[in-house]
């Protein structure tokens, strides 16, 4: 009994819990930056730790140790609460993802809904943070984030319903387990995969959907007024979101930790996660930023109909 309790506590705190996830967040920020840099024919972080591996960690530490300015006009409580809130959300969601074996730390029927719900809450928190800092750039950034969310949330949810319908479950772990027996969903629902990828780019506010924090337009968007510790937490939260996005893609479409048994499932998961993140990074380097009206038009004209089409295909064709 005691032994089990200790093990599950260790799982939550260290592996694959908090510590592991945070390290993964740092690691994948590095992967993202490095990969984009290489696509652009440069090195990216290089002199901080081996091959710049410690760069995100250095950024984090530095920001922690910096003066923390709360703007005079800001709503102090909300302004301070938002970073913590934003940090805990993706962490919670990540607990629902099966990483070392096919059952996640938290797994219940309907956790997929929870995860989707969390992605929505994240955007609302962003808006609250933007609004509480009362800076006009922030406000605009927050508004844009909300507007953007209205667009991509719908096709994303529809597309994610695809695997759920086929696996006849609303639990991510069960979807993963279904794939160990059946085909990976990327093969049967490629369209859904593409749609989810695009929507995650928007969720993560990366080019071409970095409209809420387009540097040339709104400084740093909703992040503008945050400094010091809060910024550190927010950046970590962003990295965690990146990991979350990659993990969801890997779990729903690539079969999560499943794989041939010559490597442990965990390694399989990391490989798939990395692939997903590289896909996201590559797209980031490939496009110019859309104008938000173009984004909205695109979502309604293409993404949503395509997502619906995917669902119809799923219903029609019994795999």
């Amino acid at each position: 009994m005691v032994q089990e309790a200790i093990i599950s506590l260790l799982q939550i705190v260290i592996f694959p819990g908090f510590l592991f996830l945070i390290l993964a967040a740092f690691f994948y920020e590095w992967v993202d930056r490095k990969f984009v840099a290489r696509l652009q024919n440069r090195y990216g972080p290089l002199h901080t730790g081996p091959r710049g591996l410690l760069q995100p960690f250095a950024d984090f530490l530095k920001l922690l140790s910096k003066e923390d300015i709360i703007p005079y006009a800001a709503d102090k409580l909300l302004f301070s609460a938002v970073p913590i809130f934003l940090l805990s959300l993706p962490l919670t969601a990540l607990f629902c993802i099966p990483i070392i074996n096919s059952t996640a730390l938290i797994s219940f029927e309907g956790d997929l809904i929870l995860v989707i719900f969390i992605t929505t809450i994240i955007v609302i928190s962003v808006f609250i943070g933007a609004w509480s800092s009362t800076n006009r750039f922030s406000t605009v950034g927050g508004m844009r984030a909300c507007l953007q969310m209205l667009g991509y949330e719908i096709p994303m949810t529809i597309a994610m319903a695809g695997p759920a319908i086929v696996a006849k479950t609303l639990s991510i772990s069960k979807i993963v387990q279904w794939q160990t027996t059946g085909l990976w969903f990327i093969l049967t629902q490629p369209l859904g995969f593409i749609i989810v990828t695009i929507c995650f780019l928007a969720e993560l506010q990366k080019i071409p959907f970095d409209i809420p924090k387009a540097e040339t337009e709104v400084v740093a968007g909703w992040l503008t007024e945050f400094s010091g510790k809060k910024l550190a937490l927010l950046r970590l939260a962003e990295d965690l979101e990146l990991v979350l996005a990659g993990s969801i893609m890997a779990s729903l479409y690539l079969g999560g930790p499943a794989g041939f048994s010559f490597m442990p499932p965990f390694v399989w998961f990391i490989i798939k996660l990395t692939v997903c993140i590289l896909i996201l990074s590559n797209l980031r380097a490939l496009f110019a930023r859309f104008r938000i009206d173009q984004l909205m038009r695109g979502v309604w004209k293409y993404l949503t109909p395509l997502a619906l089409l995917q669902i119809i295909l799923v219903e029609l064709i019994p795999w």
């Binding site: 024919n41 006009r136 507007l147 709104v218 400084v219 930023r289 009206d293």
Partner: protein, 391 residues
């Protein structure tokens, strides 16, 4: 509501560009009137020119603008040389031409990068700026500095082009021409770029002429006017080249014009290097300039540069006037914005290639109720977004 709030527009390296200030009158979604306000970078150069000697002025003129410094000094030295009635050796003229064209390539690459950055195309920005390094290196090799070349002297040029440098330039510009062809293809293929540039910022031929626009802005409105061809200076009367024009009158044409101009510049440089005359590169001139009144014109990368010199027989000018192309295009810019949609302001401004997208502050006046309010770039953008959604 009737308070004017001034808000930083667009750019947020609050500094990369120089701030300019525009007063917009808007009616609904349309811009009705624009009144520019410039001068955050006003440093009093014209006044300072009168207090310094001709030799010192050369370096001050060079620093009117860091990007087309050579065009300014060429204009200046030509004015002073004409007043002194000295003839510059042909070799010097050719070298001036080569540097001018290298500078044009540098400027257009630079501009393309800025436009890419403006529409959030980070990778294109990185690529163009990487390739721009080639021309920067050539200029450094030639003059000893990457930006302020100090190549022009009154009476000639300071440094010669050795055969070894010449072959390096040949190699460099070849790559630059090739790459520019590729970028031109990207700019005419990529959907995101096209969406932001075609039929945006229209400047009709008629308006372009009556508002006295200059340079690529004018030529993209299908007016074939180029100082290099019309009023040849340096070695341009001996070098064959085309004046690039496009008839789209929009931002897309401006991009195409500049891309083609780079390719044209590469040809000019090749020709000039192959036909480089021999001889000396400078003549000794007196420090004192006899009384004269001179107008000197040069086609800078951004358009016609006009300098006016009045000398009075001392070693300092009595009046020196500089008209840089950005100022000439400002009225035309206002025209492009008037009647346009507010959402398109930023890319239109970038389209005329002000030294960076200078403008930094906007203030709007609604003509209907005379209400004045300020708009930040973001709010403006949001407004544009709203507007586009209604479409």
């Amino acid at each position: 509501m009737s308070s004017i709030i001034k808000i930083p527009f667009g750019p947020q390296h609050p500094a990369l560009k120089e701030p300019e200030n525009f007063m917009f009158k808007v009616d609904g979604e349309y811009v009705v009137d624009v009144t520019p306000r410039i001068g955050y970078a006003h440093r009093g150069i014209e006044k300072a020119l009168e207090d310094r000697t001709y030799i010192q002025d050369l370096y001050l003129i060079e620093r009117i603008c860091g990007i087309c410094s050579h065009a300014h000094t060429t204009c200046y030295t030509q004015a002073v040389e004409e007043a002194l009635k000295v003839d510059v050796p042909p070799r010097a003229k050719y070298i001036r031409t080569i540097v001018t064209e290298l500078e044009r390539i540098h400027n257009h690459y630079f501009w393309l990068g800025i436009v890419a950055h403006e529409i959030g195309f980070e990778t294109l920005f990185m690529y163009t700026w990487r390739d721009r390094e080639i021309v920067m290196d050539l200029l450094e090799l030639l003059s000893g500095n990457r930006v302020q070349y100090a190549m022009n002297m009154i009476g000639g040029v300071r440094r010669d082009i050795t055969p070894e440098i010449s072959s390096k330039i040949m190699k460099g510009v070849k790559v630059l021409g090739e790459r520019m062809k590729y970028y031109k293809k990207i700019c005419s293929d990529d959907k995101t770029i096209l969406a932001r540039s075609v039929n945006v910022g229209i400047l009709k031929t008629k308006d372009a002429i009556s508002l006295c626009a200059v340079g690529p802005t004018l030529r993209a409105s299908n007016v074939k006017r180029d100082v290099r061809a019309d009023d040849p200076y340096a070695a341009y009367d001996e070098i064959p080249f085309h004046v690039v024009t496009y008839d789209g009158c929009d931002v897309a044409s401006r991009i195409a014009t500049r891309c083609d101009e780079v390719i044209e510049s590469v040809e000019i440089i090749r020709y000039a290097l192959e036909h480089l005359p021999t001889g000396s590169i400078e003549v000794i001139v007196s420090r004192v300039v006899p009384p004269a009144e001179i107008i000197s014109r040069v086609e800078a990368p951004r358009g016609e540069n006009l300098h006016y010199l009045r000398s009075n027989g001392t070693d300092k000018p009595s009046r020196y006037k500089v008209r840089s192309p950005t100022l000439a295009n400002l009225t035309a810019l206002c025209k492009m914005l008037i009647g346009g949609y507010i959402a398109d302001i930023p890319i239109v401004i970038a389209g005329i290639d002000p030294c960076f997208c200078c403008m930094d502050r906007l203030t709007f006046v609604d003509i209907n109720n005379d209400e004045t309010w300020g708009w930040e770039g973001e709010k403006l953008r949001r407004y544009g977004i709203k507007w586009y959604k209604k479409q």
